[in-house]
């Protein structure tokens, strides 16, 4: 902003005052000009104010807004006001400014900040609402799954296969790597302790039992939640924002059958398989520590592993992973369908799908632990 005044004043203070503007009256000097409005009136106390624009060669809408503000101030102070030297084109710009819109109140009010008590209440209500929505969605989904089981031809198998690839095949490298390292670390850490008792061989049992019963299903589920649950939510959420879901409905498709069922079926088929791979990779990690660090032979390690795990462990682990798959895919779809608004809502849905999935995984796992304890 220039230090000098962007205008000159002619005439006598207290009498007819002319404000002569020249050059560019634009957004660049709008702030400067506007801040001087009061001082123009205070220091020159015009009885009549004329603004001479003959020398202005560029007037943009902000410049015009300055003129409107000046006139408003003149009116407020009951000073007669007029413009001179305005070309027809510049009048056009001035006429674009609608005084009413300048003072128009907002039709929607910004959300005012809530007190702590209100926040607590709203939080509780939305948590309950969320549970309600998840439960009713699960019901709907279950119904549609049963329907699909009875009408296998209506399932979009091409989509199922493509999601099996995305969730399973594409997820295998990361599941494998993490499980392998997990097995490696577990074997290494436990070997430090077990060595002291000469119980090296039990490293194999420890890795096998921990992975097959607990960690395999949980690690796989958490990775699938992060990779695929979020992708489901983002995909459906974006379709929702773009009204694609509405379009599906209008064309007579059930969005549930069309979008959710293939994802759920694919997850149900593929997550248990991933879980099996996860355990195998972890056992391989343990095996490496066993063979290289504990002087076990490959044969004894595998022998001990087979002895340690029972069929019951494997089935319970697989059933668990099946339930995890159900929860992850259902939550991913539910969060996607819940999206209202724009891109940020899709982001929120994605985050919330992962958080809710992991929470559910823990809850389900605890439930299984209790149930299995009493069987």
């Amino acid at each position: 902003m220039s230090a000098e005044t962007p205008y000159t004043i002619e005439g006598t203070n207290g009498g007819d005052v002319t404000l002569v503007l020249s050059g560019r009256i634009s957004l660049d000097i709008f702030g400067d000009l506007s801040s001087r409005i009061d001082s123009i009136f205070d220091s020159h106390t015009p009885a009549k104010l004329t603004v001479d624009l003959a020398g202005v060669d560029y007037l943009d809408s902000s410049g015009a807004l300055f003129l409107v503000r000046l006139e408003d101030e003149a009116q407020r102070r009951s000073v007669p006001f007029n413009l001179s030297g305005m070309s027809k084109e510049k009048m056009g710009i001035l006429s674009l400014i609608d005084r009413q819109s300048l003072s128009a109140p907002s039709l929607a009010t910004k959300e005012r900040p809530m007190s702590i008590v209100e926040q607590l209440g709203a939080g509780t209500v939305s948590a309950l609402q969320d549970i309600y929505e998840v439960v009713s969605f699960s019901g709907e989904l279950f119904y549609d799954l049963v329907y699909s089981a009875a009408h296998l031809k209506k399932v979009r198998w091409n989509d199922v296969v493509s999601y099996m690839k995305k969730v399973g095949v594409d997820g295998l490298p990361i599941v494998g790597l993490i499980s392998f390292l997990l097995g490696l670390i577990m074997a290494f850490m436990s070997s430090l302790q077990l060595k002291q008792f000469g119980a090296n061989i039990y490293v194999a049992s420890l890795v096998a039992v921990a992975m097959v019963r607990e960690l395999g299903p949980i690690m796989t589920a958490i990775i699938v939640a992060g990779r695929s649950g979020s992708a489901f939510a983002a995909e459906i959420g974006t379709m929702k924002v773009n009204e694609e879901v509405d379009a599906l409905t209008t064309m007579g498709f059930s969005p549930m059958q069309f979008l959710a069922i293939p994802k759920v079926i694919a997850s149900l088929l593929v997550v248990p398989v991933l879980t099996v791979f996860s355990s195998i990779f972890a056992i391989m990690g343990g095996l490496i520590v066993g063979v290289l660090g504990l002087d076990l032979t490959i044969y004894t390690y595998i022998q001990q592993t087979m002895k340690a795990i029972e069929i019951f462990d494997i089935t319970s682990g697989l059933i668990k992973s099946f339930v995890f798959a159900m929860a992850i895919s259902a939550i991913g779809c539910q969060r996607g369908f819940k999206v209202r608004g724009g891109a940020d809502a899709v982001g929120n849905a994605t985050t919330s799908a992962v958080v809710a999935s992991i929470f559910l995984i823990i809850v389900i796992d605890s439930t299984f632990a209790i149930i299995l304890h009493y069987i």
Binding site: L27, L65, I97
Partner: protein, 260 residues
């Protein structure tokens, strides 16, 4: 309208998406203070051409000058400077969904002017008033109709009173009255501030009432099939593709194609 020479010059522009050549060797100029309309059938490359001109997509071949600067050779920083003098309305409005309409319009003002908040607010209200959206500053884009989003996008495009405005189908989704009001707005901005307007539109009213010059693109020709004053072209052109467009006719060939 002054005749200072071209503010936009496109020379030998070729645009390809993979093997699909959308525009082939297109050249034209836009003069300062002109209302310049790009027209042509759906999918002929109008939106693509706009994106090329403002430099958010790079051409396969050809050069584009804006105010004498070859934008195809600029780095990001230099392009940004050019973008500050440009306002663009995207075909899909492209409003930021996480911000209110008011915030969408005030974003460039707050970023590039350093004005105090209340000045920004009144400029925002003024711009929203110009597109008949007074009072909608606290609404989110998802709470507006398609036509309202378009108008909010126009308000955002002209937030800084840019010297050049690019409007991609500004009147799509607007009723005839609002559409005519938009024409008045465009004309007044053009005459009063001298804003150069490059407009993609199918609206014949707009084309005949306010545009100075047009180019017509064609999908098969992959380029310009007509250029000049639309009022003259309507009567004088002997290209059936051009006269059909202006007179809203369907050629025999297309009719056959539809029935078979």
């Amino acid at each position: 309208m002054n005749t200072e020479g071209p503010v936009i010059k496109v020379e030998g522009l070729t645009v390809r998406y993979g093997d699909n050549t959308v525009l082939d060797n297109v050249s034209f100029e836009v003069r300062a203070g002109e209302i310049f309309v790009i027209m042509g059938g759906s999918g002929c490359g109008k939106s693509t051409l706009l994106k090329q001109i403002i430099g958010i997509e790079t051409p396969a071949e050809g050069r584009i000058w804006i105010n004498g600067t070859d934008t195809t050779e600029l780095d990001d920083m230099e392009l940004r400077k050019i973008h500050m003098g440009i306002g663009m309305l995207f075909q899909s409005s492209a409003l930021f969904g996480s911000m209110t309409i008011g915030e969408n319009v005030s974003l460039p003002l707050a970023e590039f002017t350093g004005l105090p908040a209340d000045d920004i607010e009144s400029i925002v209200k003024m711009k929203l008033g110009m597109v008949e959206l007074a009072g909608y500053d606290n609404h989110f884009p998802s709470e507006l109709s398609g036509g309202m989003k378009k108008r909010a996008g126009i308000a955002r495009a002209m937030a800084l009173d840019p010297a050049m405005l690019f409007l991609d189908e500004p009147s799509a989704g607007l009723d005839p009255v609002t559409s005519a009001e938009l024409d008045v707005l465009i004309k007044k901005l053009n005459e009063g501030i001298g804003t150069t307007m490059v407009i993609v539109t199918h609206e014949l009213e707009t084309i005949f009432n306010i545009s100075h010059r047009i180019i017509m693109l064609d999908r098969e020709a992959r380029g310009i099939i007509a250029e000049g004053d639309p009022r003259k072209l309507r009567t004088d052109s002997d290209d059936p593709r051009v006269t059909d467009f202006f007179n809203r006719r369907v050629t025999e060939k297309k009719n056959e194609g539809m029935t078979t």
